[in-house]
């Protein structure tokens, strides 16, 4: 029994600390810091070069032009010209309109491409010969034609439609299909919507309480309570009451206005103090959690160098944040104060004046001077430019998604469907309950890639003159030669989109991961 010494001194003697240049924990952090500094230095170098060269040519990089009037012809979007009595269309506003157009087509495109892709992918594995063949032809045709060709083809097809009149289209007055675009009636949030929503939120509390009580009764007394049906019935009643009684909630308007006013008078110093405290608290919480994770029933585990580095970094990050808030960027605090006040003010304005008003309303397509009305209460309109980019992207991407779905389903072992069949589940139940949940694991990562692709491919809108961010940006730098500044805006925008999508996909992935051990 000579090996089981518990003398701490002898243990420490055997685990003598290696010199710094051989200590892997130190080396790991050292190399990372060096690489980070090298990357920053390289970036700095190139940025400085570009700035100097451009200054020499007389076009220094700046962002001052963002507030200049745009004088740009925007095809469509949330604002295309100066509002007569409101916002001017500045350069930054024009770029923002482009971003919104990009986001609009990317988000709706992602939903549509997923829906079509899933259906086609499942159909490719169907027992039905016709469904299998049709979906195979769909996939093989669409994914083998360049997406740009498809987009331009759609523009040609849509452009060959009839002239725009109220009566063009399958249902005159309601659905318009013409060479200027497609328009259908739009359901929109009317004046009473926010009162309606807040009333529903109030009703949610008792419904939730009833549900909890019923569940408890079921657990205690056995038997089956109709929890689902009761919830549905109560919710229906709540919706009906809220639909008609929503003006009651109009008092919330002044409440939000009050919050807005109160928010506006927060002194900047207080906001700075609060933000600093939040940063420090976050670091302290992180370090405490970290220490907890190193705690074993036998007490705190011995911390290795790596652990110390992490905690030191958390501390430095907090101090850095405090410095930025207090000295580096005081504007951040006043920005939070101003935009917080604006936000509550906007919410307050959403509430009506207590007169009866519908939460939702619908509007037929309207025309003025032979064009679609771009703005305000009108139908839901897809211009030909929007439609050709949308159809091109959606059909092209859906063919890839179909293949991903098919691959994911085929990656689930045959034994799983057999086990489901042997238990008596029918094909639909087996697909929904057994095969698809497992296929999702395989499908999710490549599906995320397709979502990134569709978002980035919206920049092909430039080929058909759709006013997405790249097209608007190009118009901007053609006017003022601020290529580098515009491209930096592109990069930040697309990076933000991509990181958001990646974050969502990764979160879902983690949820779906199968517990192995």
């Amino acid at each position: 029994m000579t090996l089981t010494t518990t003398d701490p001194n002898s243990a420490r003697a055997r685990h003598a600390r290696p010199p710094l240049w051989r200590n892997t924990a130190v080396l790991k952090w050292f190399v990372q810091i060096i690489v980070l500094l090298a990357v920053l230095a390289a970036f700095w170098f190139f940025a400085a070069q570009a700035r100097n060269n451009l200054s020499a040519k007389g076009i220094p990089v700046s962002y001052d032009w963002l507030d200049d009037p745009a004088n740009i012809q925007l095809g469509e979007g949330i604002q295309t010209v100066d509002d007569p009595d409101g916002r001017r269309l500045t350069m930054s506003r024009a770029l923002w309109v482009g971003m919104v157009n990009t986001l609009r087509i990317a988000s709706i495109g992602i939903i549509a491409a997923t829906a079509i892709g899933v259906v086609v992918g499942i159909a490719r594995l169907s027992n039905n010969w016709l469904a299998r063949k049709v979906s195979s032809i769909y996939v093989e045709t669409l994914r083998n034609i360049p997406v740009l060709v498809q987009i331009i083809l759609w523009l040609a097809i849509l452009g060959s439609l009839g002239k725009l009149t109220v009566d063009s289209g399958p249902i005159p007055g309601w659905v318009i299909v013409s060479q200027k675009g497609i328009s259908i009636p739009r359901v929109f949030f009317a004046d009473g919507f926010y009162q309606f929503l807040s009333m529903l939120a109030v009703f949610a509390v008792p419904i939730w309480w009833v549900r909890r009580r019923m569940r408890r009764t079921q657990e205690e007394q056995g038997g089956t309570q109709r929890i689902g049906s009761v919830t549905f019935a109560l919710s229906l009643v709540a919706v009906v009451i809220a639909w008609f009684a929503n003006p009651v909630m109009a008092f919330l308007g002044p409440v939000f206005d009050g919050i807005s006013d109160a928010w506006a008078v927060i002194p900047q110093g207080l906001m700075q103090a609060v933000l600093s405290i939040v940063a420090v608290l976050a670091a302290v919480t992180w370090i405490r959690r970290f220490l907890d994770s190193r705690r074993t029933p036998a007490g705190l585990a011995k911390l290795i160098d790596d652990d110390w580095f992490r905690m030191i970094f958390a501390g430095i990050a907090a101090l850095l944040a405090v410095f930025v808030v207090v000295r580096g960027w005081p504007g951040l605090s006043s920005w939070i104060i101003n935009s917080g006040s604006d936000l509550f003010g906007v919410i307050g304005d959403k509430f009506g004046d207590g007169r009866g008003s519908r939460p939702l309303d619908a509007m037929k397509p309207t025309l003025s001077e032979g064009r679609f009305v771009n703005y305000g209460p009108t139908g839901l309109t897809m211009t030909v430019f929007y439609a050709s980019l949308f159809f091109g992207l959606v059909f092209y991407t859906s063919s890839f998604i179909a293949e991903i779905v098919r691959g994911g389903i085929q990656a689930v072992p045959a034994g799983q469907s057999e086990a489901a069949a042997a238990l008596g589940l029918n094909r639909r139940q087996a697909l929904r309950k057994v095969v698809l949940p497992q296929a999702f694991r395989v499908i999710m990562p490549p599906l995320g890639n397709q979502y990134l692709n569709i978002t980035k491919n919206t920049s092909l809108g430039i080929a058909v003159g759709f006013s997405e961010i790249v097209q608007v940006g190009q118009t901007v730098y053609n006017k003022n030669s601020q290529t580098l500044a515009v491209f930096s805006i592109y990069m930040i925008f697309f990076l933000a989109c991509s990181l958001t999508i990646s974050f969502v996909v990764n979160t879902i992935n983690r949820r779906l991961a199968i517990v192995e051990r």
Binding site: Q218, E219, G222, G223, T224, P413, G415, Q416, E418, A419, A420, A421, A422, L423, G424, L425, N426, Q429, K433, V434, P437, Q438, R441, L512, I514, V515, E516, R517
Partner: protein, 257 residues
């Protein structure tokens, strides 16, 4: 007396037929896996199917709940003929449980959810009732403490016992076992066989493809020996292990005993 009814005691012969196979033939492309199989399994009988690999024994029991489709001959399960009629297939599948060599548990569901899935969705049982029944079955196979775990966290023997419990949750009248212990480590085989013996003593009609001769000798009412898609010999364990008639049977038994 046909080969299908060989070696039945009078008492056994008087019971109902649970599984009847008459002249069952099955091809995979050009390869004929079953060459006219005649087998009858009586109510509460335990039938063990023996044979070298590739003899068609797995194919036969997979035909019985229509995981494979036979091309010629009749299969009648508890009086219902297996045809293309979806209603018959559903009826038979909900009455016949099956245990696979590779367990085929659903890895994304907990043990409890694996067991309650079919009762809730096929039998439309309320969740609470299905879960109570599932816990009872887990108790019976000896692993109630594993209910909240996922299949990947269990040993092979535990997984196979969960698979048996999952089949039993549908309250089947017949259980099919397709080499249930072949994928298990040696020390885990007995825990699964014990559960199966317990089932047999409880009067379950069972058809078992296995290489476990000890189990066959102890539990089987009759054995079937198959080779190349044919039934070679049917008999009691005593007959098989002391006095087999066919040369091929003798050769096979001498190789594995």
């Amino acid at each position: 007396m046909s080969i299908a009814d060989n070696a039945l005691t009078d008492e056994m012969a008087s019971r109902d037929d649970m599984i009847v196979c008459r002249g069952v033939k099955k091809w995979f492309g050009d390869f004929q896996a079953l060459r006219g199989v005649d087998v009858t399994v009586k109510d509460r009988e335990v039938m063990v199917v023996l044979g070298p690999s590739g003899s068609g024994k797995s194919t036969l029991i997979r035909c019985i709940n229509r995981l494979e489709v036979h091309q010629e001959g009749d299969i009648i399960v508890d009086g219902v003929e297996l045809t293309n009629d979806l209603r018959n297939i559903e009826k038979i599948r909900s009455e016949v449980g099956m245990v696979f060599q590779q367990f085929n548990l659903f890895p994304h569901l907990t043990v409890l959810d694996n067991i309650t899935l079919a009762p809730i969705w096929v039998r439309k049982k309320p969740k609470a009732e299905a879960e109570a029944k599932a816990m009872e079955l887990l108790e019976r196979v000896g692993i109630p403490e594993q209910a909240a775990k996922f299949p990947g966290q269990l040993s092979g023997g535990q997984q196979q016992r969960v698979a048996i419990a999952r089949s039993l949750a549908m309250e089947p009248r017949i259980m099919l076992f397709d080499e249930p212990t072949s994928a298990l480590d040696p020390e885990m085989i007995s825990e699964v066989l014990d559960v199966m013996k317990d089932l047999a003593r409880g009067g379950m009609t069972m058809m078992v493809v296995t290489h476990e001769m000890g189990f066959a000798r102890e539990v089987a009412d009759r054995l079937v020996f198959m080779e190349s898609g044919d039934v070679v010999e049917v008999g009691t364990p005593e007959h098989f292990f002391t006095n087999p008639q066919e040369e091929r049977t003798k050769l096979f038994l001498s190789q594995i005993l």
